[in-house]
């Protein structure tokens, strides 16, 4: 150790002498902070994918394989046919609507690259449990969404080699920022004729209530409710917020809303154990779809059970 550092000092000096002119000209001294990650460490974090396919891991998947995965993990928000539930984003349709008064911007009608779909599903979906899909699932669900948009056949096997070749219909319709695109001038007097002014009033009733008492009131109720929860229900609060709240907070996919006594009463007729079974294994009823574990397979059965108790005790 001692010797080697001596040698390295000698080499450094030699280099310093050789390049002293250059050193004076400007190269900065390093602060010597941070560590150099290994290639393996970089690979663990380096998840991004580009339109040319750079960054795609080795893998494959088809729409046929993706259909069930999509139904279980995506359809509750995006709809079985990519039509979108409530205000959640539709994924399919909208062809030739971009010039319309109400354009429908979907993967098929708007997105320029298929790689974006793979990258986004992999990094951010499913919404309540991002970064939990396997490489195979990401390929298969990507294929299924492309299939929903009639961009590939259902048996087409997407791989790291052919994904970049899927040409999206709207790819060539994006261009670089060319603003400023307005050229107002600083007129000070007689800038327009008063008689040309037409006043457009706002629509009534869409500005949210601004009385803070209401919000504070709701927060107070929530705070008061907490101590009355059972131990089991308290343990369910975190998994609820992570994976259940998305649907049960808003009632999308016809999920019974947390705190809505009537909606839960009809479900409770079958008994709490059955409710828990459905929450863990998934359930498709007349009204609504419950994906297994709310789409987050990382949750343990105990966590899902606790989350069900948490929701029931909010009623």
């Amino acid at each position: 150790m001692y010797n080697s550092s001596k040698i390295s000092i000698a080499i450094t000096c030699a280099i310093a002498l050789l390049f002293s002119a250059a050193a004076l000209a400007g190269p900065k001294t390093s602060y010597g902070l941070g560590v150099t990650p290994t290639k393996e460490e970089i690979a663990l974090w380096d998840i991004d994918v580009r339109p040319d396919g750079q960054g795609l891991p080795i893998g494959k998947g088809s729409a046929i394989e993706g259909e069930a995965m999509y139904e279980a993990k995506c359809a509750s928000c995006h709809g079985s046919f990519g039509e979108g539930e409530g205000r959640w984003p539709p994924l399919a349709g909208g062809e030739n609507t971009l010039k319309d008064d109400r354009p429908e911007k979907t993967v098929g009608s708007y997105w320029p690259y298929a790689s974006t779909l793979w990258d986004y599903i992999n990094r951010a979906m499913p919404f309540p449990a991002p970064k939990t899909l396997t490489v195979h699932e990401v390929y298969a669900i990507t294929a299924y969404v492309l299939y929903l948009n009639d961009l590939i056949e259902d048996d087409y096997v997407l791989t790291q080699d052919n994904l970049a070749q899927v040409k999206m219909p709207n790819q060539d319709n994006f261009y670089a920022d060319d603003r400023p695109d307005t050229h107002n001038t600083r007129c000070m007097n007689n800038c327009k004729k008063p008689k040309d002014i037409v006043i457009v009033q706002s629509l009534r009733g869409i500005t949210p209530e601004q009385e803070e008492e209401q919000e504070q009131g709701a927060a107070k109720v929530e705070e008061k409710a907490k101590p009355t929860l059972s131990k089991n229900a308290l343990a369910g609060e975190a998994p609820y917020k992570q994976s259940c709240f998305v649907c049960h907070g808003s009632g999308i996919a016809d999920a019974p809303r947390t705190g809505d006594k009537n909606a839960w009463a009809s479900r409770l007729k079958q008994g709490t154990p059955m409710l828990i079974k459905h929450a863990i294994e998934g359930y498709i009823g007349d009204a609504g779809v419950m994906p297994p574990k709310g789409g987050n397979m990382n949750l343990t059965d105990e966590q899902v059970t606790a989350a069900v108790h948490y929701m029931l005790e909010q009623n």
Binding site: G34, P130, Y175, D177, K192, K195, I206, E212
Partner: protein
């Protein structure tokens, strides 16, 4: 100034001739309110002068207040309960991927207090442990590096005051006026002092390869929020920020570390920053293709529209800050430009027929909120109030018609047009648009 004044009734009659029948009826009704409002104002003045309650020695002058550290982290007076962030529930599917607005109608000066900076999450605000958090820089570099928070804070730091704005600010009103509140029309903007290390300093440390042209910034949140940033910006004024207004970043703002691109749309300033990859091409990720691209009337779309163009709005009066009795007021507001300093703000009281210059107040900084004001003696005349910002590049804030003529009504983002408040003769203020 008095030369420009016209009587309230004359103005009312003049405007009423120019508005459609529905609005005209409203105007006439408001004319009636005008007279009753005036009576009420006079009555209340008498009440104050004849009432000694306000002059009694108050209870707080005859007792002891609370001691030090009764609130170890101080909170605003209970009388300021109304000064809070608010959201528009119908705007998004849920509160996890959503936005809230700053109460800019209540704020003074140019700094937004940390608890009131608007929020924008794509997958909620994560709880990031600073001990565990790392920032990795890799890709087309000679020496990839991974930094702890302690490492980052040992680099030379800078503090700068800049606005932060969501490009969707005002975006609910492309088609028509919707929101009877300044907080909802313009509240997706805040301004803070940001402290951190220049990104160029860190890029010097890793050493850029000659092909390097773009930087991918990625967050540690559930969305793994990612944006492609041109290297020129990264080497110009981009900062790796860990503090705001003197304290560590709030979780909502990316604790413990975020990217900050001065003057650019807020989402490029990726929060909870964990990775910067250097590349030779942009990545075209979801938040720069599906979202944050500007659909134009011809069906094509602009992308990488980073800059926030000059904008301004009058904050007093506004729907939340109506005027009461006649007399002296300061018409006041804020202006900002992503291209540099605000040079001038003009105000119109007649819907843009004539304009008068205002005075810029306090600090006038590049890419920062800038306050303007105009003393005004109100005689009860209704008015159509507008402000128009001009930045140091000479760019003049456009009218809504000019903006719509080029962009139509479906671009969602970057609506920076001149805003109109209708001041009624009873002092109330309505959000309107002029055709």
């Amino acid at each position: 100034m008095s030369k420009n004044k016209i009587s309230g009734k004359a103005y009312l009659a003049e405007l009423a001739n120019n508005v459609p029948s529905n609005a005209r009826r409203n105007f006439l009704k408001q004319g009636v309110k005008f007279s009753t409002g005036l009576v009420a104002a006079v009555a209340s003045n008498e009440a104050i002068s004849g009432n000694s309650t306000a002059l009694d020695v108050p209870s707080w002058s005859k007792s002891l207040g609370s001691g030090v550290v009764s609130t170890p982290y101080g909170i605003p007076s209970k009388f300021e309960k109304n000064v809070i962030r608010r959201t528009v529930p119908w705007l998004t599917a849920d509160k996890i991927s959503s936005i809230s607005m700053s109460p800019i109608q209540e704020l003074k000066g140019i700094i937004t207090p940390n608890g009131l900076v608007f929020e924008r999450y794509h997958a909620g605000s994560p709880t990031v442990d600073p001990e565990q958090h790392r920032l990795m820089i890799h890709g087309l570099v000679d020496n990839p590096l991974m930094f702890t928070m302690d490492d980052l804070m040992r680099f030379p730091s800078e503090s700068v005051i800049h606005f932060l704005e969501c490009p969707a600010n005002g975006g609910m009103e492309w088609r028509g006026p919707q929101m009877e509140a300044l907080q909802f029309t313009h509240g997706m903007v805040s301004c803070c002092e940001w402290t951190g290390v220049r990104l160029s300093t860190l890029l010097d440390e890793v050493g850029l390869k000659s092909k390097a042209k773009w930087v991918l910034a990625e967050g540690a949140d559930g969305a793994g929020m990612s944006r492609s940033i041109p290297l020129d910006k990264a080497l110009d004024d981009a900062l790796i920020v860990y503090a705001q207004n003197g304290e560590m970043l709030r979780p909502e703002q990316g604790y413990p570390v975020r990217l900050f691109n001065p003057g650019w749309e807020g989402n490029t300033s990726v929060k909870w920053l964990r990775r910067l990859e250097i590349g030779d091409k942009p990545w075209h990720h979801r938040e720069e293709t599906s979202k944050y691209t500007d659909l134009m009337p011809d069906g094509r779309a602009r992308r990488f529209t980073y800059e926030q163009e000059a904008n301004s709005v009058i904050t007093s009066p506004c729907p939340e800050n109506p005027w009461g009795s006649r007399g002296s007021y300061q018409i006041e507001g804020i202006a900002w430009s992503g291209r540099g300093k605000i040079k001038q703000v003009d105000i119109s009281l007649d819907g843009g027929v004539s304009w008068r210059p205002t005075k810029l107040k306090g600090l006038v900084l590049s890419k920062a909120l800038t306050r303007f004001s105009l003393p005004y003696s109100w005689d009860g005349a209704p008015a159509l109030l507008q402000s128009r910002a001009i930045d140091e590049t000479g760019y003049v804030q456009p009218t809504l018609s000019q903006l719509r003529k080029v962009r139509g009504t479906n671009t969602i983002y970057h609506k920076n047009s001149i805003h109109t408040w209708q001041l009624l003769s009873d002092g109330k203020v309505k959000n309107v648009q002029l055709k």
